[in-house]
Subunit: 116 residues, 2 copies
Amino acid sequence: MATDPLSVIFAALADPTRRAILARLAEGPATVKELSAPFAMSGPAISKHLRVLERAGLITRGRDAQWRPCHLSAAPLKEVADWAEHYRRFWDASYARLDSYLQQMKDEESDDGHDR
Amino acid sequence: MATDPLSVIFAALADPTRRAILARLAEGPATVKELSAPFAMSGPAISKHLRVLERAGLITRGRDAQWRPCHLSAAPLKEVADWAEHYRRFWDASYARLDSYLQQMKDEESDDGHDR
DNA sequence: AGGTTAGATAACCGAGTGGTTAGGTAGCGA
DNA sequence: TCGCTACCTAACCACTCGGTTATCTAACCT
């Protein structure tokens, strides 16, 4: 797998179990046991998912006696949102109109009588 | 790999080559040859990347004689942006203040003298 | 000290990824 | 028709992923 930050983040999000874990953590910190409760999955499987999320910077883990409370760390999600925003003009109708207007300006400019 | 739409989209985006292809297509349609030019990679490798993008709904391919022009299809990126927006309050300071205010209201409500 | 619980690690497995080379197909143009 | 170009498919490779079971550590509670 690619190791650049954005690729690691996207890869971490490309699994419904991990996205569900993030959704749960959006409601507050939770232990590993609590996080694994909704899933028909062994502990180690959850543990691996958590490590993937941790390496993507999406969660942090503390320590409280025998518990390892996880909590959400949303900074990478801002990166995702910012990245996607670059393409907004391709799905947002009003943006698309602005974009085609600017494109038209550009076309007319490069078209008005000068060679090369 | 997970087969739900959002997972397929995120997985497609979890590769810098594929994101670079999308960035190129944001400037307009391109043939497979044009898309492969910036990369030190064989044709079939690019072809596989394009198939991943196509299955995620991020590109469509037409046909023009021996060329297969690709163009961007950004609807899935809107899904990504919308998904990430759900977490905005965790990185946006003003949203976070609103959120803690609402949380405080909730705490005071469940705290004002009633048992259970 | 002994038992229980929370959690991580290791080793393994089947399926998928990202790349390769080789070879096939479709359309253009001389 | 012959050759060139654009592109795809097939087969293969090393590696990763998502899951398992078995085993280990650490902390709590009698």
